[in-house]
């Protein structure tokens, strides 16, 4: 009977490790998803709070980051679904709160952000997970809870749309 009671990880330590060690990476991931610096902050915070307010003990810091990323993607997709009206007008708005960049970098950034905004939330999540996080298709499917075929279809459609958007942006 001496081994019946459970020792659970200290969530404060896991959270602190996650914020200090992975906060910036999560923020960059969120920034690509929503295209806005302030929203990215909100998204990361909301995901972290949800992850840790659930009765959850995360055994490994690496797994914790992956778990928060999954929550973040799901929050983003759910939020986009609820706020479809907002996302229809979002491409009209410039991202705020970003430090000034060289002109060409601004143009490049705006082009890729605008192109990303033209994708559906699920397509955008697939693109970010596949080409930014560099996850294989199978893992992207696992994180989104969909089949590999669905991910491939989203990626294919996203690539076609991105190609069109980016070439239009470059040609003026």
């Amino acid at each position: 009977m001496s081994s019946l009671v459970v020792r659970v990880e200290t969530w404060e330590q896991t959270l602190a490790g996650l914020v200090v060690g992975g906060g910036a990476a999560l923020k960059r991931h969120a920034f690509l998803l929503c295209g806005d610096d302030a929203q990215a902050d909100d998204l990361v915070q909301e995901a972290l709070v949800r992850a840790f307010t659930r009765p959850l003990r995360v055994p490994r810091p690496g797994a914790a980051e992956a778990y928060v990323r999954v929550i973040m993607v799901n929050l983003f997709i759910d939020g986009a679904r609820r706020q479809s009206r907002w996302y229809r007008v979002a491409p009209l708005l410039r991202p705020a709160g970003i430090a000034p960049d060289p002109a060409d970098q601004v143009s490049d950034r705006d082009a890729i952000l605008s192109a990303l905004r033209s994708l559906s939330p699920r397509q955008r999540a697939c693109v970010v997970l596949r080409y930014y996080e560099d996850l294989p298709v199978a893992k992207v499917a696992a994180e989104l809870g969909v089949g590999e075929g669905t991910v491939k279809r989203h990626l294919s459609e996203a690539m076609s749309r991105l190609a069109g958007q980016l070439s239009r942006a470059e040609n003026g």
């Binding site: 020792r7 693109v127 991105l162």
Partner: protein, 341 residues
Amino acid sequence: MSADELELRSRLTQTAALAGPPRFTTDDLAGRVRRIRRRRRRARTIGATSVAAAVACAIAIPLTVGSSGQHVMSMAPAVGPRLSYTVTVNGQARATPARTGALPLFTVTPAERLTMAVKVTVPRGRAMTVWLGITNGMLAPRRSGPVGMKPILASTRTPLRPGAHRFVLHWRVPAGLKPGASFQLSVEWAWSEGAAEGNVAEFAVPAPAAAASPAAVAHRLRELALRAVTSCDGARPAWIHAVRTTFGKVMAIPDVAEGINAADRPADPVYLVLMKGLFVFHQSGRVPPGFCEHGPSGHYFSAVFDAATFVTLEAGLGNHPLPVALRTLGSALNLGRSARG
């Protein structure tokens, strides 16, 4: 420009690098998590998310009243000004001292019609837009209105002025609720600079009288534990044990009690349930492929249930046992196979 994969990868990396540094701190987040955990500690039940999808009819009658001598319970919002409340449900006024942060807990029955009178006191110098409604404890304050509140039982079209405002809410508890299910009456409020949320009261469906027999309790606890997690390897748990003890004794166990407010009724009877296997928490009943390898998993599941309502007070996964014997906490129950080793 062609958007081939390599180029896209490179441009995504460049764009992501333009994101500003995180504007949140560990302390802020940990504080927020602690507040939410504290508020939810008496109301969280596994599978309670379906409660929010309630069949509800609600009429909200906001009336402005003067201050009265009723007990006022203060809630601590995440940020900004505080609201204070008085709650009466079906004629029963319940209040808990604000210093403990505990919510008034009402036991309800499925299909029961509730009439709730809530007095909201808006502090001086602020005008507040207020929403009141039913949630499962997961709240995300937004100035544009609440997310996760379903149904919304009352909302103010124009901001409330400072002072006391009374709302009378009518709601029918969903008929299909199982014993142990719980939900909360929550409030969100927004002012010119921000928004915050809080819980006003908690409702739980108690276990039926027949469930008081040891066999029924054991069955109920086993069901709750098995529903809380999914086995990664598909195998049944090596063992499931439980002990009837008190809040105070559970709080004395290091780590297991984290998230439980130490000031909250240490003499209350609870069940501590322990299960060994390889588990993950799952949210929707289906574990995505690969989740066990990369998601948070653990070999030991622990949960603390309120002995009267079977509401889940705390649950967790871990990989290390503690050197505390169950029998030292109270009378132990064997809910599954015999313990190995």
